[in-house]
Symmetry: C2
Subunit: 438 residues, 2 copies
């Protein structure tokens, strides 16, 4: 089933013929803030967060900044009581800049430089997740000047996990984390470092999982690893970070992840783990990003031209690959097909045209949707791309063909507010030195 009607019904709505986002007409938003435009409905973020919290009452829900690092989005999740998980020092500075206390931030990342480790340690963030023996040694060297021990978690790349009838999550080689086969070696390395305190475990099982069986097995595996780590360290654990991984359906053949069923099946595993002394008081943490933000964001574009060329219809919109690489299928193999989309100012009209929806870049790469079924769009109509709250703006080559960067807007309770202004062409010269004097 096409995901569009479902998303509109669950999260948005229609008035007259017009898509409403946070109670504001898509037409009005484009009129006021220009086009293209990223619109976020914080009510959708909140409903996803609350549903997850209800389904997983034993867990703290953090927000993984990488999914959408727009400062207003970070601010939203901080206000809602989420701690922030960051993947780089850049994300760390953003998080601090929006007012998140460092004690509510954790850092993981495959390639941390010494400068980044120092910045994180000085900021006294909650936990730094270490990914190699070399990194442990480099971090330990920083402790003396800080005059206190640095809290670290071990980041593990999990081994093979069997589940269901005869399915399994394969063990993969990775540039990040310790392979779980190295758990003992990694634990010993942290314990041997005077300046470090082993407080946590972090396991990353990949992204975009929609299968409850798989996720129960994966998180059960994390609990088993935590129990082993406790025994090795002979210390209670403060934090167990299960990563994110909760998927969001994008395409017709995908179904929503059943988070309530997941919670029910996870509960006995958690209860059993709680009886292990070292795990009794551990904070169980999940840190979704896409799951919380994808559905709350919509990318609005305007139709600039209609074309017929050699048997194909084309709808040219004023956005494109420069704003939404994922929608064009050029961000890895996970997301290849059409994002859910609609003609936002003619929601009631029946589809009467099958068309390629393309951007302005005169290259076949710049195709936002193939064979999309739409009510024959006219110049000025608004094409909305759903599921654009995560990995849209920040994952796109914003300077490709030197076009403007769209504004970002929050829409809630019938009110809209600008959270990032549109940047004009002249801004493209910022940071540029044409004739430096040296």
């Amino acid at each position: 089933m096409d995901r569009t009607p479902q998303l509109v019904a669950s999260h948005f709505g229609v008035k007259g013929d017009v898509l409403q986002l946070g109670g504001v007409a898509a037409t009005e938003l484009v009129e006021r803030y220009g086009s293209p435009l990223y619109v976020y409905a914080p009510a959708v973020f909140r409903s996803k967060l609350e549903r997850l919290r209800r389904a997983l009452p034993d867990f703290e829900v953090h927000y993984a900044v990488k999914a959408n690092p727009t400062p207003a989005v970070l601010d939203f999740f901080v206000q809602e009581g989420c701690d922030l998980d960051v993947a780089t020092c850049g994300e760390l500075s953003l998080s601090i800049a929006v007012g998140c206390p460092p004690s509510r931030i954790m850092l993981a990342g495959a390639g941390k430089t010494q400068d980044e480790l120092l910045a994180a340690a000085r900021a006294e963030i909650a936990e730094i997740h270490v990914e190699s023996v070399d990194e442990i040694e480099r971090l330990a060297k920083l402790a003396p000047e800080l005059g206190r021990r640095i809290a670290v978690g071990l980041r593990l790349n999990p081994g093979r996990v069997d589940y269901g009838e005869e399915e399994s999550i394969e063990a993969k080689p990775a540039g990040y984390g310790f392979d779980e086969e190295m758990l003992e070696e990694a634990t010993r390395a942290v314990l041997a470092a005077d300046g470090l305190e082993l407080t946590g475990l972090h396991v990353y099982f990949g992204t975009q999982h929609l299968d409850v069986d798989l996720m129960v097995a994966a998180w059960g595996h994390v609990l088993a690893l935590a129990e082993r780590l406790c025994a090795l360290a002979d210390e209670p654990l403060r934090t167990i970070d299960f990563g994110g991984g909760l998927g969001v359906p994008y395409y017709k053949n995908e179904s929503e992840f059943d988070v309530e069923e997941f919670g029910r099946r996870l509960a006995p595993l958690v209860a059993r783990a709680r009886r292990v002394p070292g795990l009794a008081d551990a904070n169980l943490v999940t840190e979704p990003g896409r799951y919380l933000t994808a559905e709350g964001g919509v990318y609005l574009t305007r139709v600039i031209a209609r074309k017929h060329s050699r048997g194909q219809e084309f709808v040219v919109v004023d956005g494109g690959i420069n704003h939404h690489l994922a929608a064009t299928g050029n961000l890895g193999h996970v997301l290849k097909r059409n994002f859910p989309l609609a003609l936002a100012n003619r929601m009631g009209a029946e589809p009467s045209l099958q068309a390629e929806v393309v951007g302005r870049q005169s290259t076949a790469l710049d195709t936002l949707a193939r064979k999309a079924k739409l009510p024959a769009p006219e110049v000025g109509d608004i094409v909305a791309f759903f599921q654009s709250g995560a990995y849209a703006r920040s994952s796109s080559p914003l300077q490709f063909r030197s076009q403007e960067e769209p504004a970002e807007v929050f829409a809630e309770n019938g009110q809209a507010r600008l959270v990032r202004k549109r940047s004009g062409e002249t801004d493209l010269l910022r940071g540029t030195i044409l004739d430096p004097s040296f």
Copy 2:
């Protein structure tokens, strides 16, 4: 054959064990300007330009800004006497900002807004390439207020062209340009518009062609179309824009495009076309971008960590997908395999390791090279990615994971100069409004 030794020998060089770029050691560049770093050797741009001019003496060589819109690169080509071809209004403002006279700029683009058409017409650029009847009508409306006729070229999407034994370039549907089947209709539409003057033809045959037979057939076809257009318009043509399309070899199985052979075979076709009265004085224009800039740019990164995981070796560098989407194979299917690379501070060492070269993003997407053969790199070593002068920085999701944007440097005659400064993490907040007062 691996392209690296060839590129080093033709364009760069080695002193001691260190790669030299424009006569400056890669180690020194990274020391002075930080890492990662984009380095451009203008002598390479110049040698590519001069070789092309020599091979195609009947042609004007323009620079297609989209390949690398860094202002210093535009400035370089303007100083070298190249006109600029732009694909968007953003590129137009950049071109004007670096001091290119508007009379030396032409604009084409699939989705021009009315604002863009107005800006281009007001700036009195050399020619606007129109791509639909609607666009012709929209542009014509602007002429009265300008008090002069606007020079336009017709942009055509070519039909099928046969060449060689039994090969052909297929006719493709496209969102940009007029299908050549519409040549008459398009010509009539321009002639019927009072405010427009039909001065040019522009034909785009795609990108990255390495086959001389194909290119001779393609450009021969452009000449034939020009002859037809002259006859239809009953006017001489001022400009014939053959597009770019000249390829650059990236991978082992690709050979350099033989531009001298191309020139020799093209000459009689051009001579014949010159005998057509309306084509006798036409400017024949080619507008390469990648061809001129790709080989002159190198992306330098530093090794942060080495890892072994489940039978695979990993080299983690401080750059990644956020700076070089094309190298990770995520920018369309044209470029999928490893870019030529080398360990820039140990050029003489024999390869002793086969490794995945990955960035800092903890995702398999962030793989810069697979199974790369390198002298076992140590932390601090420099990995250089060649062919990074075109579609690197501007085609990458610079804000992915909120990391810093590398500096850009020109290196020539043993001197380096900064042309764009590195942007730190705090810059990531620029343009942000957290609490707008309305």
